[in-house]
């Protein structure tokens, strides 16, 4: 080729110079497990549904959420949100209000009538679910979506289990519960109410079921021996809370004493207050620090005028309703010990809220079962000692919350599905945890947490209206956008922008990025400047 004066070489692009050979470390994109997802007992992919909510695509967010949990409007009210406790944002300013956004999505779904997508095909298998509580409903939902025909047999007159008979209306309005239950039934799940399963083997045979999931809950109130005169009015918490669902509300009187320190004790005391009690007093044998009830529930109860007598046990109850209470003192190991000091407490009724046992009578005669400490033992696949019979919720060893129960239902459903196909369910391996120190928090704006409105105190003490309100669209969107997206790329374009070698390829919305290893020199700026810790540097092998 004829070249101009003094030019001897063809002009070329620097692309001929593959600077990737300089590299000793290579960047790689990773996904890490966000702490919220890690902490969720129902196994929700919280960060994924927040991602959709951030862009205002609430239906997509709701669909991602309900892939794991069919009851978001219920969850957004009654879940104790361990996700928020684990949230990395808590170390920055305040945790993301995951629970509020979940409730917003759940309420949005009810308002706009979103439905679950029915399964593409039917498996032809029949599964019996015993108990229409959170665990049973969750299992039924997942099994139905996997194409199985599900029948729920429920001993009580309504579906919901402890969500209806254990959680008062002011925390969970019944129309919300009904709407979410109905949506599950709309998938073709058959619900048989007032149908107590007396013997599981017989019920399975009679209905031609291929497998069963037992979730009867724990609803037999534990009793403590308290000597009481004949006419003394002593009830248990389950009687009171279940009675609230009847036309005739329980008669508790003006001075109500509740014995116990769990969430149920608080629920009963707050219910009594709303029924017109002037004094609702909780007697608990240990201190506030040792109380198993959740802090916010204690706080709400105290606001409503519930009184709590710490370090006290009830010795007896007289005809006139006078309680003899003994003062306790914590010993060195933190256990309450009697002090021999007594006082009296006037009461019209005493409600025992000392925990619940499981009614296991339906398992009589089933071979291979192991029952320990009053609950059924299950394997990691939620199956009992009897092949084909699975169990979950309060009737197996676990923390007794609605969220845990829902998680059991999902886990059991996946294992039942695999078992019905003669396979073993293998959960996907978990990513490494996205700890706070993996984040570059410089990039996140300071943003205050959105607080849900609370009903005024006068109405809280006299009505069963819902205490905690919901976020509206603007506040819910704001809250969703507080998510740091820990450990998972949210397409902020930082790596694409900060690479001095133009060695990051942007693949377009939803498709993330790729490294161009021909030119990446391995400087690691992308890793340092990734806000969410989704890039690692790994040594090159020679």
């Amino acid at each position: 080729m004829e070249k101009p004066f003094a030019i001897t070489l063809d002009v070329g692009s620097s692309l001929a110079n593959k600077t990737g050979t300089w590299r000793t470390y290579r960047p790689q994109y990773v996904d890490r497990l966000p702490p919220c997802n890690n902490a969720c007992p129902a196994g929700e992919n919280i960060q994924e549904w927040l991602f959709h909510a951030e862009s205002g695509d609430y239906e997509q967010a709701w669909r991602a959420l309900t892939a794991n949990n069919p009851l978001p409007a219920v969850m957004g009210r009654v879940c104790y949100h361990p996700c928020e406790t684990a949230c990395n944002r808590g170390q920055l300013d305040e945790s993301v209000g995951i629970n509020s956004v979940e409730r917003f999505l759940g309420d949005q779904a009810i308002k706009l009538g979103w439905k679950f997508t029915p399964p593409a095909s039917s498996s032809g298998k029949q599964v019996l679910v015993v108990g229409a509580g959170p665990s049973g409903l969750s299992a039924a939902y997942h099994l139905a979506r996997l194409g199985h025909q599900v029948t729920i047999q429920e001993a009580g007159p309504f579906a919901g289990g402890m969500m209806r008979f254990g959680i008062p209306k002011y925390r969970l309005p019944r129309d919300v519960l009904d709407a979410e239950v109905q949506r599950i039934l709309d998938l073709g799940v058959v619900l048989q109410l007032n149908t107590k399963v007396e013997n599981i083997e017989q019920s399975m045979k009679a209905g031609g079921f291929d497998a069963a999931f037992l979730a009867v809950g724990a609803h037999i109130a534990k009793r403590a021996y308290i000597p009481a005169a004949d006419s003394a009015r002593m009830l248990d918490a389950m009687q009171v809370l279940r009675g609230m669902e009847d036309e005739e509300k329980p008669m508790l009187g003006r001075r109500v004493v509740v014995y116990g320190g769990g969430n149920t004790a608080l629920d009963v005391a707050r219910t009594a207050k709303r029924l017109g009690a002037t004094d609702a007093i909780i007697v608990y044998r240990r201190t506030r620090e040792k109380m198993p009830a959740h802090d916010f529930e204690v706080e709400e109860a105290l606001q409503e005028g519930i009184m709590i007598k710490w370090l006290s046990t009830i010795k007896n109850m007289s005809d006139e309703g006078t309680l003899t209470v003994e003062k306790m003192a914590l010993d060195a190991s933190g256990f309450p010990q009697p002090t021999g000091e007594f006082e009296t407490l006037e009461s019209d009724s005493l409600v025992l809220a000392l925990g619940q046992d499981v009614d296991l009578s339906l398992l009589n005669g089933v071979p291979g079962l192991e029952i320990k400490d009053g609950v059924v033992q299950v394997g990691t696949n939620m199956m009992t000692g009897r092949a084909g019979i699975f169990a979950g919720g309060d009737m197996v060893p676990s923390e007794r919350t609605v969220t845990v129960a829902i998680g059991h239902g999902k886990k059991a459903a996946r294992n039942i599905d695999a078992w019905l196909r003669g396979e073993t369910f293998a959960p996907a391996p978990k990513h490494a945890l996205a700890e706070f120190d993996k984040l570059n928090t410089w990039y996140y704006d300071d943003a205050p947490k959105m607080v849900r409105p609370t009903l005024d105190l006068a109405r809280r003490q006299s009505t069963f209206e819902e205490v905690v309100g919901g976020l509206d669209e603007s506040t819910a969107l704001f809250e969703a956008r507080r998510c740091l997206s820990c450990g998972n790329c949210f397409e902020c374009d930082n790596c694409y922008g900060v690479c001095p070698d133009n060695a990051v390829i942007k693949l377009g919305p939803g498709n993330r990025f790729e490294f161009n290893y021909d030119y990446c020199k391995g400087c690691g700026i992308c890793r340092t400047e990734c806000p969410c810790g989704a890039i690692v540097m790994v040594p090159e092998t020679i």
Binding site: L9, V11, G12, S13, S14, L15, A16, N17, K18, T19, E54, S55, W442, Y443, Y444, D445, D446, A447, P448, M450, V451, P453, L455, E466, G469, G470, L471, D472, T475, F478, R481, C483, F490, E491, C492, D493, N494, Y496, G497, V498, C499, P500, D501, N502, A503, K506, G508, N516, D518, Y519, K521, G522, C523, G524, I525, R527, T528, E529, P531, M537
Partner: protein, 345 residues
């Protein structure tokens, strides 16, 4: 700062892009169709701040001029690593000048375009701090004085890096370079006046002067865009850390730049004629030690024993910047105004 304030979107404007923003509010660097004016395969060191700053600035200039841009480039790292004949990384019309005359070459190009009636074609001159504050200073001052229609961009990495880290008039006090070794009673560079070129440019009363930093991409892009809206001599001074010359980790380039701003060591501002019109405030103020400690060129300030006098001196200079340019807003509320909850009940 000329960047638009936007509604809260998770990371606000701090990240390069933001999927929640309208495309027209996103940065040039987030765009899949950005020019990549300085393409892959260049020979800059790992983590080069100058390569990054140059691509940021020229891509923004390309977008602002609808790709009608010619660049003149002084000798220095940027020229050497991008264009070892016959290869080049530049994907724009680009010419290499001598070390000292790039402002004059750009003036010539601008004059030629004027003669040809091509008012749509804009001219950028660029160089490092050596080529700008020392060797090319005469030509640059002339370009300012004549108010030639050129945007001059200086990528300041505070020494002659290309030839082996020799001191320039932009090297800060106490910094160790090949020509200011960390020995004797006053180790490193002397604390002198140096040359503060943005202020010198302002003294020429040219239409537009700005400083920028690679850690604040949107601010940098907004300034280049603003400069391209103006005719006449314009000057942008971009602070670009140099991992090799400063002895910093290659992965910390942007982090170091951010520390320079957050400590007040490098003030980020914008001026028209001789008046400062906007200042990029410090977001989270830090002591200068945080900036100095990760840099080996300042290692002698901390070992074998801390040189508290020198550190105090540098802190005093940073504090002076903070006062002089108003870098800290005492009433600043960094939190984003949140919507008011109006949910039921």
């Amino acid at each position: 700062m000329t960047a638009t304030t936007i509604k809260f979107y998770q990371t606000g404007t701090h990240t390069v892009g933001n999927r929640l923003l309208d495309p027209e509010h996103r940065s040039v660097q987030a765009d899949m169709r950005r020019t990549n004016s300085l393409n892959s395969g260049h020979r800059a060191c790992q983590g080069c701040g100058e390569a990054l700053g140059a691509r940021y600035a020229i891509d923004a200039a390309m977008q602002a001029t609808d790709n009608q841009l010619i660049a003149a480039n002084a000798t220095g790292c940027l020229e050497v690593f991008s264009t070892p004949y016959p290869e080049t990384s530049w994907q724009i019309p680009w010419i290499h000048s001598l070390f000292g005359n790039t402002a004059a070459v750009a003036t010539g190009i601008a004059a030629a375009m004027r003669v040809k009636g091509r008012s749509d074609v804009r001219v950028v001159a660029q160089g490092g701090d050596g080529g700008t504050t020392d060797i090319g200073f005469g030509c640059l001052s002339g370009m300012f004085e004549r108010n030639d229609d050129v945007l001059y961009i200086c990528y300041d990495n505070e020494a002659y890096m290309n030839t082996g880290v020799q001191r320039s008039s932009a090297t800060p006090g106490a910094a160790r370079t090949a020509t200011t070794p960390a020995v004797g009673t006053a180790p490193g560079n002397v604390f002198g006046q140096g040359k503060n070129l943005p202020l010198i440019a302002m003294a020429h009363e040219i239409p537009y002067v700005a400083t920028a930093i690679v850690s604040e991409l949107r601010d940098l892009e907004a300034k280049v865009k603003r400069a391209m809206e103006i005719r006449g001599a314009r000057y942008i001074h971009v602070f670009v850390p140099c991992p090799l010359g400063w002895g910093t980790n290659s992965w910390d380039t942007i982090h170091i730049a951010r520390l320079a701003k957050e400590t007040g060591v490098f003030p980020v501002f914008e001026a028209e004629r001789d008046q400062i019109v906007s200042v990029s405030k410090i977001r989270k103020q830090l002591p200068v030690e945080d900036y100095l400690r990760p840099q080996r060129r300042f290692a002698h300030l901390f070992s074998p024993k801390p040189n508290t006098d020198a550190i105090a001196h540098i802190q005093a200079l940073a504090d002076r910047n903070i006062r002089r340019f108003g870098l800290v807003d005492p009433a600043a509320d960094t939190a984003i105004a949140a919507p008011v909850a109006t949910g039921n009940p």
